[in-house]
Symmetry: C2
DNA sequence: GTCTATATTCTGATAGAC
DNA sequence: GTCTATCAGAATATAGAC
């Protein structure tokens, strides 16, 4: 790898770290310059603007996460097995990509100020996450014929994940509670009449449990 | 109300609005000055620093929210009735105080940069919300003897709420789905062996439903 | 308490030699 | 591609008259 590419990577590493810690607005070019050892002019040569750095950082984070995500066709013979696999995948992705999530949430919050390119990146990131989650949930609960239920369960899952990311700002040891998520997803599936046989305690016959509403 | 107090309020109004929209770092004193019509020196006279504005804004938002929250002793004769009341209260608070929530999340995210005073305010805000939610949930499900379950259900509720706040950054029309929350809370309570009789469909006798784990 | 004017530092961004 | 040097403007914050 030539020096140019190495510098480019160093800028993205440092910039991503700083932006995820302090937010976009509070991260200055001079901070990135000081932390990476490269002069500001080099930074501007690689990326045309501060916004350009953010877009590149976010794009790299998105690609890294999506490449790390397993296929959304979840393996397993019954709902219980597939659900456990899915929950492990979600937990794993959540633990391994905290900076990406924080970058996404950080700019998501103030996207009205962001450039068109940055906003587009943010949406592409989020849409990809939603699509993966939806496909996975659909596979877990066999919802090919009920896309609206898959969508609801996916949004619920992402909401729990981002809510947990928020909780982590206040209590850094917080982890995604997959036990809670498991109970909640099963109850929601059941609530929509989705059969969840094979799950311990949920193998009730036709007159199944509904939780009101 | 004298002119000084009116100016002070105007600064808090404008500053709160701008900070919740753009975040703390991206909100400048000159923006607040321009939007409120008051010179920067007046702003500095009322609050000693930019940080002082943020602390005052957040303190006011916290007090307003806490005053608006109903008593955490939820009225109702059975779980179903109390739960519905509680969910309505949460939804209402969530709808009516979006700026407070955004301020809280906004600084929560970068609190390591924040002053001690600002960080203290952020934690006090969050702790008060958590305490109210915990007390309410405890009242709804009669969990006086099982505080750890009340804590878990409260954190779950707040995670759903903040996850929904995040979702709203991307899709502004998003509302807190109390239907989902109802199903999930009942399932979690049931999962912990908490009796949830009185709820349609959940009036199963002792050998009640467990969703595995 | 509010105003005008200003000090000082830092910002994003560029010029141009190498 | 990287460096030194620098620009124009905006940032936080203050001085001091009224």
């Amino acid at each position: 790898m030539d020096r140019g590419a190495r510098s480019r990577d160093a800028i993205l590493d440092t910039g991503g770290e700083l932006m995820s810690r302090h937010g976009y607005a509070a991260t200055s070019i001079s901070m990135i310059s000081a932390a990476s050892g490269l002069p500001t002019s080099s930074i501007y040569w690689h990326f045309r603007s501060k916004d350009g750095i953010y877009v590149a950082v976010l794009e790299r984070a998105r690609i890294a996460l999506l490449e790390a995500l397993p296929p959304s066709e979840v393996p397993g013979t019954d709902v219980a097995e597939r659900l456990d696999t899915f929950l492990r995948e979600v937990e794993d992705a959540f633990q391994r990509h905290p900076r990406g999530v924080k970058l996404l949430l950080g700019l998501g919050m103030v996207q009205q100020d962001a450039s068109a390119a940055a906003a587009a990146e943010v949406y592409q990131y989020r849409d990809a996450l939603l699509a993966w989650t939806r496909d996975s949930v659909s596979s877990v609960f066999e919802l090919r014929n009920r896309p609206e239920v898959a969508d609801e369960l996916a949004r619920f899952t992402l909401r729990m994940a981002s809510g947990t990311a928020v909780a982590r700002w206040f209590e850094p040891d917080t982890v995604l509670d997959t036990g809670q998520l498991r109970v909640a997803l099963l109850a929601l599936a059941d609530h929509h009449g989705v059969p969840v046989r094979g799950v311990p305690g949920e193998d009730a016959p036709p007159g199944h449990i509904t939780t009101g509403e």
